[in-house]
């Protein structure tokens, strides 16, 4: 039972992170090159998802949006949507920052070789931005992984929800929640370690390494 809950948590986390990355790149590019109107819309989007608690976002997509659009959404779908959109709002910030830090000089240099703007973004700006971004990405992973726990309020059976059920059934609150906490901790720590290793591997070499 705990395993299924854990898998649900893992699923939500990784789906949110990866969709968030794709959306985040689009948002960052839109914000940087899209002109005033697009960048204002993006600003509102980001402020909504970063400024309000994840619980409200879950409620809105579980209760409000279906009524407004006259559709039905299951709790798992809502989870995927909310965590992807929420993570995109955060990741956009990291990506934009990273892109800005490599943007100007490198772009000019790329253009001087005859690369088009799109090519310059693809081959020069983004590859560097992604490398710079990994530490930010680690932060986003751990905060997203943790916030998936909130999904129990719309009835999804994730790790925390299952833990709560077990706790109420056995009345061993202390042990059960400690155990659940430990699972989260191990999961998040392992992935962070892996990201760390990747970062060290693909980090752009500097003098220290060659010396």
């Amino acid at each position: 039972m705990i395993l299924t809950g854990f898998l649900k948590t893992v699923q939500l986390t990784f789906f949110g992170l990866i969709m968030g990355l794709i959306l985040g790149i689009l948002l960052a590019i839109g914000d940087l090159y899209g002109g005033k109107i697009i960048s204002t819309i993006i600003k509102f989007y980001v402020e909504f998802f970063r400024g309000s608690p994840i619980i409200i976002q879950l409620f809105i997509f579980y209760f409000s949006v279906p009524i407004m659009l006259n559709i039905r959404l299951g709790s798992t779908i809502v989870g995927f949507i909310v965590f992807a959109l929420n993570s995109a709002a955060y990741q956009k910030g990291y990506i934009k920052g990273a892109m800005e830090s490599v943007y100007k000089d490198q772009m000019t240099a790329a253009l001087s070789l005859g690369l088009s703007k799109v090519q310059a973004i693809m081959y020069v700006v983004l590859p560097q931005a992604m490398r710079i971004m990994i530490p930010g990405w680690s932060n986003e992973f751990s905060s997203l992984g943790k916030s998936t726990a909130a999904i129990l309020i719309i009835g999804e059976r994730d790790l925390t929800a299952i833990g709560r059920t077990i706790a109420f059934r056995t009345f061993r609150f202390l042990e059960t929640y400690a155990f659940i906490a430990l699972i989260y901790f191990i999961f998040i720590s392992i992935v962070l370690k892996i990201l760390d290793i990747i970062y060290e591997k693909i980090k752009i070499p500097t003098i220290e390494i060659s010396a």
Binding site: Q106, A110, L113, S116, V124, Q128, I204, T206
Partner: protein, 266 residues
């Protein structure tokens, strides 16, 4: 490399008017209220080495960037091999590929090795296959005597080495002309020598160049014409000897005197 280039220039299309490679006519660049380039006209013929110099803030860099169409001029026209680059609808990427540019602050791509920096343009712009791009990139590195450092990343190289890679990056595209925007001024004095040597080699091979520089001994040795720019305008132009012996304008005379004094002190 020099011979290779001559061939490239002599491709179909027949004789061009006096083989002018790059030309600008009545070029202006205005930023808000600041006039950076004021009505400049000049032309670079095949095999020419033009040297632009002048006090800081005189619009040299802006002029260079306008010529490479990295900045759009406010007024006036730029021609590459007789083709106007300032009218709408021109494929600027294609034009920029034919104009090599070396930056003052080098601007190698941090995430690519020396070789990778050079391969990028060859593969993505000239669309060469992988092994051919590699071959040409190595060739370009040899030209600047950096082949041993091919797999080093920019941050692992000294400033002078980085700039030589920067030159190789521009050179590898077999451009019609190379524009060098103060290639040595961001380097420590002891590192400028190697870069100047590289430029001297290029000059010997007949590479068409437009150099912004204050390296006066180098200028005297290789430049066909020197152009003194001040406040965005061409104040005086002529053969190097003119500037070193009797510049006719007061401004050029004073600036030369200061430069020569500085060089001596070093």
């Amino acid at each position: 490399m020099g011979e290779q280039k001559k061939e490239a220039v002599g491709t179909p299309g027949g004789r061009r008017i006096a083989d002018i490679i790059l030309e600008c006519r009545n070029l202006w660049k205005i930023y808000g209220k600041i006039v950076a380039v004021k009505d400049v006209s000049l032309e670079v013929k095949e095999g020419d080495i033009k040297l632009i110099f002048g006090p800081s803030g005189s619009g040299k860099s802006t002029l260079a960037r306008c010529l490479a169409m990295l900045t759009t001029p406010t007024k006036g026209d730029v021609f590459l091999m007789g083709e106007c680059l300032t009218k709408p609808g021109v494929d600027l990427n294609k034009a920029r590929a034919k104009i090599g540019f070396v930056f003052q602050h080098i601007w190698l791509f941090h995430h690519l090795s020396a070789l990778g920096n050079i391969e990028l343009g060859l593969r993505r712009v000239l669309k060469l296959p992988k092994n051919e791009a590699r071959e040409q990139a190595i060739q370009a590195l040899k030209e600047v005597k950096m082949e041993e450092w091919a797999n080093h990343f920019p941050a692992q190289l000294s400033g002078g080495q980085q700039q030589r890679v920067g030159i190789a990056r521009a050179l590898a595209m077999s451009p019609e002309i190379i524009i060098l925007d103060e290639p040595t001024s961001a380097l420590d004095p002891e590192l400028t020598g190697e870069v100047i040597d590289t430029l001297r080699d290029l000059a010997k091979k007949g590479t068409t160049m437009l150099v912004i520089s204050h390296e006066m001994p180098f200028a005297r040795e290789v430049a066909d014409e020197m152009i003194f720019l001040d406040e965005g305008m061409i104040v005086e132009r002529g053969q190097p000897e003119l500037f070193f012996t009797k510049p006719s304008s007061e401004r050029a005379r004073r600036f030369m005197a200061r430069l020569i004094k500085l060089t001596r002190r070093e």
